[in-house]
Symmetry: C2
Subunit: 351 residues, 2 copies
Amino acid sequence: MPRRRQAVTIKHVAADAGVSLQSVSRVINQQPNVREELRDRVQASIDKLGYVPSIAAQRMSGSRSYLILAINDRERTIADWRARQGSDWVDQMLLGGMLKCAELGYRLIFELVDTHNDHVERELQAAIAALQPDGVILTPPHSDNPLITDLLRDQSIPFVQIGSRGEGGGIPIIMGDHGAARMATRYLIDLGHERIGFIAGSPEYRLSTWRTKGWHEEMASEGLPVEGLLAEGDFTLEAGRAAARELLSRTSRPTAILASSDQMAIGAIETVREQGLEVPRDLSVVSFDNTPITRSTRPTVTAVDQPIAETTSRAVELLVAAKRGEEIPEGPINIPVGFIVRESTAAPPPD
Amino acid sequence: MPRRRQAVTIKHVAADAGVSLQSVSRVINQQPNVREELRDRVQASIDKLGYVPSIAAQRMSGSRSYLILAINDRERTIADWRARQGSDWVDQMLLGGMLKCAELGYRLIFELVDTHNDHVERELQAAIAALQPDGVILTPPHSDNPLITDLLRDQSIPFVQIGSRGEGGGIPIIMGDHGAARMATRYLIDLGHERIGFIAGSPEYRLSTWRTKGWHEEMASEGLPVEGLLAEGDFTLEAGRAAARELLSRTSRPTAILASSDQMAIGAIETVREQGLEVPRDLSVVSFDNTPITRSTRPTVTAVDQPIAETTSRAVELLVAAKRGEEIPEGPINIPVGFIVRESTAAPPPD
DNA sequence: GTGAAAGCGCTAACAA
DNA sequence: TTGTTAGCGCTTTCAC
């Protein structure tokens, strides 16, 4: 392989425009103190030669790499990809993140990091050392991992903590989990349900607690009981089945179930069906996530929509703003969720 | 923002091990002419200090960037992401590509490029100039775009053409479209079908032609007619509906339909149903792709499985091998497809 | 087998 | 407002 050099460098542009390297650099970086005439001349040369700065070189000398690193949990992500069950979390992150990055002249690099590894830090550190990103986007369950947040804070790399209230020193963004759980519970209450079961997600994810709390509060606000109506799962289909079996075995069985993931909701629906009941006639089901599968099952599933694309887009914006030294709003940023009513919910059966 | 420097550089390692920068570089790059004793000593320092080379610096001086660029069609990809219909093409590419890259010490960068743009070259050129990738993975419909292949060839950047027979000068990889279409057609013939309709994909994709040819040949091999049994679509659900309407309007209506995408198959199923027919009782349907949705519709869809992850994985291997100057096999590499039988196929109805 | 020197493309700091 | 200088971290010569 021949050693490949940049086809058009800043030198070519400088020569073509008859100015110094510095002036070209200033134009590229939209810095002040450049006369308009000179700026135009340089820009013309850039366009003419089709010059694009090498991010490697920019990173080498300057303080920016124009790279944003988005971190996801390796095990879980690969499992989702392999399962091919239509979880589009990654796609939605790319949708929001890549487009916003492109808009701002950045590039999104997607990385997998293993939470359940003693070497989380080493792994992350390696990615950081290799890429020198200008910012990092953390997703659950990494968002609140102190090994990770400490590392980033120590190196003063701006980072966003998605699904975190922000104890780690990063910029916290949440997708209204608490409010969403209340909203979904309220929807079921308004349909006439009184015994509403809740299948929580794994406690490793903070949002699990927030959602549980939201459900709990909304129930309490109506004076409805929650005793025996809470089960826990790990977001998987199988967990949904098990949790549903548990909830249905109670003497006073729920007429509705709110599940912390689409997969758990679908597992629950299957279990309900196995017990000779019908959704939504005998029991309503609402899920969290709103992945594509909610639209193709029978019945289709009423779901809380996680605004992942918008959240990631916002995350990129915030990181770039932080890098530029702009003001970042105080406190967790809350991206409002959606609620999509489909076929899996109805009024409870008459007693 | 403070100017952030590499925490541990090659200098630190060199100092720690008491050798020259050069020797450290040689160890990192596994070059010959290093005594084992020295190699071990350097490696120990690397591990101790947690040193990871900066790819920016590597790229600056050397000939490698350790970056592989995967190019997808912008418009189509974003439309898929927005539609949230569960297409997991991107995920499968990442699954195969990222894991193989990680294994080989590379990094996969995912990029979107607009085919229907006069500036394809500019866009691609910009990505190349900015990132200086060691290799590029082209996916349809980019794979055979001469604007793109010429550009890459001129710059002697190794590239893989997925879904191409390789006229562009890159490494061609195909996912057995021709054989897969024959196989699927054969499956239907063996079930007893004689009038098998085919919904082709848009001709912009070469694989559309290959599949059509495969179907045609298999039909011919049995002496079965194809007249009035071919319709064309653009892979979308709506196109599937339209194509199915067309096929069903023919005097001698098919008893089975082979569609070039899952979405078109589902569109076809909906149309079939609207006409008062039932799948698979009155008409069988087979699709190409095997995206998650095939498993959650009613009936579930029998499908040709596109081995996207494996293909991408292989693509990365080949690019790295090419970069190393290793021998690349002649002729298109064919990754075998799978065939998943589900509920949408059965014997044809009695006359 | 090992080390020293030059330079990749760009920007920060300073000088003019 | 503009240009000059000195590196960034690494690899490629080319000496030894």
